[in-house]
């Protein structure tokens, strides 16, 4: 079981808080929209990711469990 960050691209309005909190996992494109790679979230970033989920003004981030790579 691994944790992954998912961005809802419809909800996202490029506030960019997530990338400030989680520069190791989220980078912004030239327009300020977050890019996540498909890699599992390292354990040491879970607390920050939870905060990013909570702090996103658009509620566009979720952390989901995956039981196998997809």
């Amino acid at each position: 079981m691994t944790l992954h960050i998912t961005i809802d691209p419809v909800a996202c309005d490029a506030y960019g808080y997530c990338a400030e909190l989680l520069p190791e996992a989220i980078v912004l494109d030239e327009w300020g929209y977050p890019i996540v790679d498909g890699r599992p979230l390292p354990a040491e970033l879970v607390a920050l990711a939870t905060r990013a989920v909570r702090d996103c003004p658009r509620r566009a981030i979720t952390v989901t469990r995956k039981t196998r790579a997809s």
Partner: protein
């Protein structure tokens, strides 16, 4: 009348979408009655599900998802859902769904009735965009005939969503039928059914349904008698571009690309073929013999898309045509996702500069970076299609791209497009 012994048609001739009578009496005389007893004969349902699986039919709306798997998921739905017939076909280079709905409306509707029975849907809703009144009239005529004959098992109605490129994306279509905004929905888990109200919705492409109607009646064998081992059946392909006779042809799945192009009678030597649609791929002459089938197309980096072969003649600039398509696709974004809303116009602008021979030194690196950044970052696959097309252009027209970068554009970049667009696209 003439002969007392009539030979049955060869099995392969039984699977054909076009060329049959259009009216209900002729339809029934050709194909037999619609023998559907809703929810009563489980053996019939099992047989149809098995036939669909044996046929290997995949959806013809662009996704290419196996119909039997989509159906198996839907069979688990509870009663009372909606079977949505997707006749939206927003792709300007594709006319196949308009043609099958106009020339074989009863096949499309029968396919919907079979699936409605199988997944216990309570209604069939046919989506035809505003403006396509000829198509809607043909389908309405068919529905009226069926109502008079008490032929259909569940109700059949037509609705008219707006004529936009992404309106036919299945989540967008379910949203519109449900009275919501009709925009694509972000669905991280596609196995969760679409909904209309509180009930499940199953969206199927019009051509796919016509195939299902024939497979349901005749079993999988006639379908399996057509096409290649890798992909069976026939398919509808819209031929356009530098051809004397543009239009929709029905060919065996796996027919070589160039043989399909020949059906339109090309008017000049081809430097490339556009395959799959505006969100598809350019294919160079070394691959013109590739079969129009999913696996073969994948090996050359292309995809079957919605059944499109457009001929790019020698007198047309591939860079300019790609720039026009990119401009068109940028204008067709649903306007929801930042990378699509901002990325596609940025890509189109750079392609227009390239087409005009006015590239700055950073253009190619910028373009390549944006293609990577935009790919896969929308709620629907609209931006992915644009990226796929542009990438194929940079490969197939590499020589021309180099010349355009050096400020030496093709002499004919200003020529009018030979591709079908709803309105002319300018690159200045």
């Amino acid at each position: 009348m003439s002969s007392s012994v009539r030979e049955a048609p060869p099995r392969s001739e039984l699977h054909r979408l076009l060329g049959h009578p259009i009216d209900l009496a002729g339809h029934v005389a050709t194909h037999g009655p619609l023998a559907v007893a809703m929810g009563e004969h489980t053996s019939w349902q099992g047989a149809l599900a098995a036939s669909l699986e044996a046929s290997g039919l995949a959806g013809r709306g662009g996704g290419g998802f196996p119909s039997s798997i989509k159906l198996a998921a839907a069979s688990a739905y509870r009663h009372g859902g909606t079977l949505v017939v997707n006749g939206m076909e927003g792709e300007p280079a594709s006319d196949k769904d308009k043609v099958v709905l106009t020339r074989a409306p009863h096949l499309v509707l029968d396919g919907a009735q079979f699936l409605a029975a199988l997944c216990r849907a309570r209604e069939v809703v046919v989506c035809i965009p505003t403006g396509r009144n000829g198509v809607a009239a043909a389908v309405q005529q068919a529905i009226s005939e069926r109502a008079v004959a008490r032929y259909a098992r569940v109700s059949e109605t037509i609705v008219r969503p707006p004529d936009r490129f992404v309106a036919g994306e299945e989540s967008a279509l379910a949203s519109w039928v449900d009275g919501r905004d009709g925009l694509p929905v972000f669905r991280p888990d596609k196995s969760v059914p679409l909904r209309i109200g509180k009930r499940p919705a199953l969206v199927h492409n019009a051509e796919t349904l016509a195939h299902i109607a024939l497979i349901a009646r005749h079993g999988p064998e006639p379908f399996l008698a057509r096409g290649l081992a890798e992909e069976r059946g026939t398919c509808l392909v819209t031929v356009s571009g530098a051809v004397a006779q543009p239009g929709v042809v029905e060919v065996d799945r796996g027919t070589p690309l160039w043989d399909i192009a020949l059906r339109g009678t090309p008017t000049e030597p081809a430097q490339a073929l556009l395959v799959g649609g505006y969100g598809g791929n350019w294919v160079g002459p070394q691959h013109f013999a590739t079969p129009y089938a999913s696996v073969s197309l994948r090996t050359i980096g292309a995809s079957a898309g919605v059944g499109v072969v457009a001929v790019l003649g020698q007198s047309t600039c591939g860079v300019a045509e790609t720039a026009r398509i990119a401009r068109y696709l940028a204008g067709q974004s649903a306007g929801q996702c930042g990378p699509c809303v901002l990325g596609l116009p940025a890509i189109a602008d750079d392609l227009a500069r390239l087409a005009r021979g006015q590239a700055d030194g950073g253009l190619m690196a910028r373009l390549q970076r944006r293609l990577i950044e935009v790919d896969g970052r929308g709620a629907c696959r609209h931006p992915d299609g644009a990226v796929s097309l542009v990438r194929s252009a940079l490969d197939v027209f590499a020589g021309d791209v180099g010349a355009h970068l050096r400020g030496e554009p093709c002499a004919h970049w200003r020529h009018l497009s030979s591709l079908p667009f709803p309105r002319p696209i300018t690159l200045t």
